[in-house]
């Protein structure tokens, strides 16, 4: 952006910024175009109020966002319209760019989790999982992860899928004017965040998964809490179906809106509910299982309408399937370690919360401070310098609520990542917005973007 837009400079003939986009029009009204004060009637009527003008056929540019409540985050939409028909959709992103990929190159492999959990802030466990699975594959310890750690990971990821889908339905409903869907969506999400808070100490940005396992074992009483809240959430899921499935207004806003077929999905790299709404049952949990997903019993939800309504129905069904998986996890939780045996990789993973609010493992402290000088040195080296990861590259992908979340890691053999790249599904899926919205109306843009469910933290990273 040119700074001269803000400069107070005298108007001169040689100043290029004096030229307005409409040429050298003298009066202000002409330079801004005609101004209409519209208080709610059809554009046809407004445009035909002045019979001499052809304003009804003129092209208008509508700038929506980045602070608009219905653009699903800090997303800027630039819509070119003829009448009420959108002829071109352009997207402005980057408002949440935080340079996570660069920052991760300056921290050791374990610390990287703290960065990546902040990308897609509605699905933090998925970011962590994609990253730690990549590090574990580079280390060659994928099959040494304890069973209990894997079950905890799967359980938290599936709970996270439910909470993420709830936000999608809630904000999506709000954007369509279904405010009750928003209030009940956030009500149920709260129950799941209570579980996250009990298990990890935080409602978001958990940094709970670590290369080799998880940071903490489940606290006492966690399984009872999970069981109770999951039952409560399950007993309320029918409310979304009752409110929306056959709701006349909701269907009018979503059926046939945001259409994208399988060919379009392939060319654009679309995954997740958008892809499954075309009827393709692609789910990485089935096609490339990780964390032991092949041993769980669940179905892949699909729909065949390729529109916003189908995506909504898929998300509803996926929440039920996720709760099914959580039930199976609770049955499988057997006592055991939650971190790999290898002390060269495992950070101390059994911390107890002390009176000062800091996590300490008393046994571990006794060992390193009182019993073994070597253990102290080892602990110091592991925590300050980190472990070394063999040189190589790896791409790991998992099925996040929004689609394929992948992590491309490159190691040069050091204690820090050489390159961390995230293939975030929001980034890739958001590219489909023009294909979904061009030719439709402005109101359909809202419904289509809501059905993509982009999370700008993931788009911009």
């Amino acid at each position: 952006m040119s700074s001269s837009m803000y400069d107070a400079r005298p108007a001169g003939a040689d100043d290029p910024f004096e030229q307005t986009p409409l040429g050298d029009a003298a009066d202000e009204g002409a330079s801004e175009g005609r101004v209409f004060t519209v208080s709610g009637s059809d554009w046809d009527v407004v445009g035909s109020s002045d019979p001499d003008s052809h304003i009804g056929e003129e092209r208008i540019v509508v700038n929506m966002g980045p602070q608009h409540p219905s653009t699903h985050g800090v997303l800027r939409l630039i819509l070119e319209m003829e009448g009420e028909t959108v002829t071109e959709t352009r997207l402005g992103i980057g408002y949440l760019h935080t340079g996570i990929e660069k920052n991760a190159e300056y921290r050791n492999w374990t610390q990287g989790v703290t960065f990546v959990t902040r990308m897609d802030y509605l699905a933090p466990f998925f970011n962590e999982a994609a990253y730690v699975l990549g590090v574990e594959r580079l280390l060659g310890i994928s099959d040494q992860i304890p069973e209990r750690a894997n079950v905890i990971r799967v359980m938290l990821m599936e709970l996270n899928r439910v909470s993420s889908h709830l936000v999608c339905l809630a904000t999506g409903g709000m954007e369509l004017g279904a405010l009750t869907v928003m209030t009940i969506g956030f009500r149920e999400r709260e129950l799941i965040l209570d579980i996250f808070e009990a298990v990890t100490g935080l409602r978001m940005n958990h940094a709970y998964f670590r290369p080799g396992g998880v940071a903490q074992d489940l606290p006492s009483g966690a399984t009872e809490l999970i069981r109770r809240n999951v039952d409560l959430v399950r007993s309320r899921l029918h409310e979304y179906e009752d409110l929306c499935n056959e709701n006349y207004i909701f269907k009018k806003r979503t059926v046939g809106v945001g259409y994208l077929d399988l060919t379009g999905c392939m060319a654009l790299g679309i995954t997740g509910p958008i892809l499954r709404a075309t009827g393709l049952p692609h789910d990485l949990r089935k096609s490339q299982p990780y964390c032991g997903y092949e041993t769980y019993d669940f179905d892949v939800a699909t729909w065949d309408t390729s529109d916003a309504y189908g995506r909504f129905r898929i998300r509803l069904e996926e929440m039920k399937q996720s709760l099914r998986i959580v039930d199976q996890c609770l049955e499988r939780l057997a006592p055991g370690p939650v971190m790999v045996e290898d002390k060269k990789i495992a950070w101390p993973a059994q911390l107890a919360l002390g009176g000062d609010g800091l996590g300490n493992s008393l046994d571990h402290i006794r060992h390193i401070m009182g019993e073994s000088m070597e253990a102290l040195i080892h602990h110091f080296k592991l925590v300050t310098e980190g472990f070394r990861v063999p040189p190589g590259q790896v791409y790991t992908a998992i099925e996040s609520p929004r689609g394929e979340l992948g992590c491309h890691l490159v190691s040069d053999g050091g204690t820090r990542p050489y390159r961390v790249h995230f293939r975030d599904p929001s980034f890739t899926n958001l590219q489909s917005a023009p294909a979904m919205t061009e030719g439709g109306q402005v109101a359909d843009v809202i419904a289509a973007v809501a059905s993509i469910d982009p999370v700008m933290g993931g788009v911009d990273r």
């Binding site: 990929e101 060319a267 491309h408 980034f427 890739t428 590219q431 911009d460």
Partner: protein
């Protein structure tokens, strides 16, 4: 259950199509990859799409390989067939002084944003891209931040509060990660 791609399958399709342009085929941690000469990049991706059934664009990214050049990696997936849901990585190395590779946008429309991101982060020129504008970085941003020689200037300019010598006897200040030695970068006493 579908099977991952094997090196032989990859070689059988790419070698006739590319000849000398195919530099190497290998497998890295379970995923087959092929290294392509940069001038055959577009042909290679086209051959993979049409010959191997890799019709599903996954992602594209850059890696700064220092003196070797700037690497471009693209991941393609097979939507159906024997390898359904599995993919391969195609890689190429662009010359660091004038990094240019052909754009893939005409093959996969979805590559547009990925190439724009790689363009602004690494300065790679994707020839034939219809609108190679910055995507994530603010207007007027100078430099290519994911290149290894890009220094995080704000870290240099601001004193680092978290890193100090407890004894207070150290002769020089510890530098935060990613900040070069004073005098080797920027103007004058940047680190102090």
């Amino acid at each position: 259950m579908s099977a991952p791609f094997e090196e032989a399958v990859l070689r059988a399709v790419l070698e006739p199509a590319l000849g000398e342009g195919l530099l190497e085929v290998g497998t890295a941690t379970g995923t087959a990859y092929a290294d392509i000469a940069p001038h055959r990049w577009h042909d290679a991706v086209g051959a993979a799409r049409d010959g191997l059934g890799l019709a599903w664009f996954d992602w594209l990214a850059g890696v700064d390989e220092l003196e070797e050049g700037l690497r471009v990696v693209v991941s393609l997936l097979a939507p159906d067939g024997a390898h359904r849901g599995h993919g391969v990585l195609l890689r190429t190395l662009a010359d660091r002084s004038a990094p240019q590779v052909p754009s893939l946008v005409d093959l996969f429309a979805g590559a547009a944003w990925h190439e724009r991101e790689a363009h602004e982060m690494f300065g790679i020129d994707f020839a034939g891209h219809p609108g190679l504008r910055p995507l994530l970085l603010p207007d007027g941003f100078d430099g290519h931040p994911l290149r290894k020689d890009f220094v995080l200037a704000s870290r240099v300019a601001r004193p680092w509060p978290g890193e100090h010598e407890p004894s207070g006897r150290s002769r020089r200040r510890n530098l935060p990660p990613g900040v070069p030695e004073p005098g080797t970068w920027g103007a004058g006493e940047a680190g102090s």
